[in-house]
Subunit: 386 residues, 2 copies
């Protein structure tokens, strides 16, 4: 037995994260600069922590609403109205214990064994596992990197959808590539999904991390409230709340009673004081978010400036999200290269192979860190990549 | 469509909680005394909140360890050593975002479609759903209430285990009955499970809520570290932390890497500051727990004293957990009766039908409340139950 007797074969087969593998390899070394995870080095702002602490003292420490505090759902409805310029009724909003949880509960609600989900890759890998846990099948459609940057061939996406396909999963802006789907393409995908009766799950966690404009296009722009659309979002990236485990999903209102049950049978709701912290982030967090975006823009320019100067490196300066995703001529094994960079430069990057088809040969660097730290990292890495 | 198109039939079929139904029916009425949920009216102690607040300020707001902070797992190992008088290595301990999450991740790891789980009922109902979400099948073996109190016929339990049975689920001390399995019976169950290659999932969340001795018997007393045993536990009841969503599971150490993955794909870990609060509860919470048990004992005696004086009522004064589970002669529909008690006495009880086979005809009252409140509740209810 590899992992205890009687574990389901499909669970035994789930791969361990290559990001965790490189982190275990490098963690704790002298002077390491870890840029492997999808988070920055700025802690949660004080006004968010203050709100959590106050809510605790006020008694938000008991069992709570399964779909979220009504006042948080209202605050999210208001956030959507001002950010996306459209009404999103609180009835359509469910609060979850992270964007990941929103994905996992949605997959549990929709995917029977043998059902297929078509996924645009390379992409943040956890969604693959949530499908495989339910006995579902993943079909990947990789982006390609050319002169126009990362692009998706929509015909390939549509061709990948067969009789067992239940859902299309798109993460735009994309972790790790920064690829962002345009409104016209979203409209075409939504139309196709409607015709075929497919669900669209749109992971829009990076929708505010954009370097041109105030938000990325959203599937909410091209859909009706009762479309088979689930939009995943999170407090993690916008307000430096990765460790708080607070996300939300916008669904048709008819999906609400399903989430009500599924939350009950997963974690039975998010701590009330964490939700109160979320309200503070939504209501007082615009300035913090703007600063975060500027910090990431500076980080991007430092990192990509160096990468673009290295002849062996191929990189597309991203317009969104906070990752540089680049390849190095002659290097085909991303885990081996990431380990060499740990050894020779004491910098931690995520191997592209972690992100599914189209990812091998690339490395992901999270530039949501301080400019000084990023400069040191790039100085140390340049000789290895030259 | 009832709940949106394309929801899995097995998810559509999951029942809504009857406890939620009665709470929705009664919530917000003038003077309501709600005793329907499994929590008291004492907020989390200050030293736990202080620890959470301090940990936030110290930076425990980033992504964290999937199986829990090493220092929390060490503190849990120490807690087991001093509470159960036996070594439980930190390698065997995984921290989860509630006891419910521990159950759900374990079921996801073990139950394939068609696999059966044999469950001693009546019982806290969420476990049923976690099995049905995975396509598993629930077989219930009800306790019976006789002159010797609630008893389980072990032969019926063993007879219920067939060729598709993968697991036996036992909640002892039991919510709602207070039934507690003795060490000899546990040994017989463990022996049977070993012979058949079955898993035992033992929900021991109420193991410290006992009115005779310092803890209930545990399957840990009758097992070896590599037995197919999963012991579920939680901070909720012992330290008034229901709203914090913090639990743990003791498993064979070989199960550790499985939980590592399953946590990643569920909520990607519990907030670090919540885990730090858990350490404070373990290290400074013995006095609080002792007070809680005394408070519940007082509550039990008030509630059962009145119930025992009512000729139509049949009740067994429980030795553990914090519920009175009683039937009323001539009343066969527990939801209807619970609604009448809301209407006529402004007291909220949970209908027994919520707890599976053997539960209909009963009502559950949570007596983890203040004596004054419980006295008022009983005065108001007595006429309805007379």
């Amino acid at each position: 037995m590899s992992q205890g007797p009687g574990i389901r074969p499909s669970i035994d087969a789930l791969p361990h994260s290559l990001i965790d593998e490189i982190a275990r390899y490098g963690r704790g070394r002298d002077g390491m600069i870890p840029l492997w995870f999808g988070e920055g080095d700025v802690p949660t702002p004080d006004f968010v922590m203050d709100a959590a602490n106050q809510a605790m003292r006020e008694g938000h420490v008991f069992y709570t609403w399964q779909r979220g505090l009504p006042e948080l759902r209202d605050a999210l409805a208001a956030y959507h109205r001002r950010t996306y310029g459209m009404p999103v009724d609180a009835d359509r909003i469910t609060v979850t214990g992270s964007g990941m949880t929103a994905i996992s509960l949605s997959i549990q609600s929709l995917i029977d064994p043998g059902d297929e989900v078509v996924i645009v890759s390379p992409v943040w890998p956890n969604v693959f596992a949530s499908i495989e846990i339910m006995g579902g099948v993943v079909r990947q459609v990789p982006l390609t990197l050319g002169n126009a940057g990362w692009t998706l061939d929509l015909d390939r996406l549509f061709d990948a959808c067969g009789s067992r396909t239940k859902m299309i999963f798109i993460n735009s802006p994309c972790n790790p590539t920064g690829w962002t789907m345009g409104t016209d393409d979203m409209r075409r995908v939504m139309k196709f999904a409607r015709e075929r009766g497919l669900w669209v799950m749109s992971d829009e966690v990076y929708s505010r991390m954009v370097y041109d404009g105030s938000r990325a296009p959203s599937f909410l722009d091209v859909s009706e409230p009762e479309d088979r659309l689930l939009v995943i979002n999170s407090f993690s990236k916008n307000w430096a709340m990765t460790g708080w485990r607070l996300g939300w999903v916008v669904s048709p209102s008819s999906f609400g009673p399903v989430y009500e049950k599924m939350v009950q049978f997963n974690n039975s709701g998010v701590p009330g004081f964490v939700q109160k912290a979320g309200i503070a982030a939504l209501e007082q967090g615009d300035g913090f978010l703007a600063d975060m975006v500027e910090r990431c823009r500076t980080g991007r320019d430092i990192v990509c400036g160096v990468l673009e100067s290295l002849p062996r490196v191929k990189v597309q300066r991203p317009d969104a999200a906070f990752y540089a995703f680049f390849s190095v001529e002659g290097e085909t094994d991303s885990l081996t290269l990431a380990k060499r960079i740990v050894d020779e430069a004491q910098v931690g990057l995520a191997p592209g192979a972690a992100f599914g088809e189209g990812g091998e040969g690339y490395l992901r660097l999270c530039f949501a860190s301080s400019p000084a730290r990023l400069k040191v990292a790039m100085e140390r890495m340049a000789p290895v990549l030259s």
